[in-house]
């Protein structure tokens, strides 16, 4: 399994959080990886759970430049759906 597949696999942990509707990934040159997590509402406790997963991902893949976002809107069509 290559690194990107490992990251996608790790992102699936977000699925277990109640309120998370989806996750997308977009690669940029230079190991910059945009992660979009979709939620319908801005809820503090929900967002905190997602941030914890993001922090775990950054610790696990310290050499990747993640740009995380929590959004209610699906990203551009360039982004790949993780779930």
């Amino acid at each position: 399994m290559n690194e990107l597949e490992k990251i996608k696999d790790a992102l699936k942990a977000l699925q277990a959080i109640d309120g998370v509707k989806g996750c997308f990934l977009e690669e940029e040159t230079g190991d910059i990886l945009h992660v979009y997590t979709i939620t319908c509402v801005a809820n503090y406790n929900l967002d905190k759970q997602i941030f914890q997963e993001y922090a775990a991902l950054e610790k696990r893949f310290p050499y990747v430049s993640f740009e995380f976002l929590i959004t209610s809107q699906p990203p551009s069509s360039m982004a790949e759906m993780v779930f």
Binding site: V41, A42, D47, E67
Partner: protein
């Protein structure tokens, strides 16, 4: 901007955030945005004074001409201010959502704002208070 300019802007944003987040205005989207921009200017003051760095943007970009990654402010916070990194990023995400998605007009917004103010903003602000800022 000088270090003093950043500090002045940071404090002004902090004061305005307080006003926007309380009656009669209760504009939580802008209060959240201003809290983030208060922290951003404290960060910029710190980076300029201690590291002689003036970040050009929030996030890293790829410099095609030089074939290298240019770090953004978020990267510098992670590297040089790890004690506020989590709080800073939470406010960064929240302010983006406030500006671009109109996310804080619901009944949950007061609670969201209060949590950000009492947890993330307060903890990061305390770090800069220790510097006398």
């Amino acid at each position: 901007m000088t270090v003093q300019d950043h500090l002045r802007q940071a404090r002004q944003n902090e004061e305005l955030a307080q006003k926007l987040g309380s009656q009669p205005l209760e504009a939580y989207d802008w209060a959240i945005t201003l809290m983030f921009y208060s922290l951003l200017h404290f960060v910029d003051a710190y980076l300029l004074e201690r590291r002689h760095i003036a970040p050009r943007g929030h996030t890293a970009v790829w410099d095609r001409r030089r074939g290298q990654r240019v770090p953004g402010r978020n990267d510098y916070v992670r590297q040089y201010l790890p004690q506020i990194y989590e709080a800073y990023k939470v406010l960064y995400y929240a302010s983006r959502r406030a500006r671009y998605e109109g996310a804080y007009f619901t009944s949950d917004s007061v609670e969201y704002y209060q949590n950000l103010k009492n947890n993330e903003f307060a903890s990061a602000r305390a770090v800069f208070r220790q510097l006398g800022w």
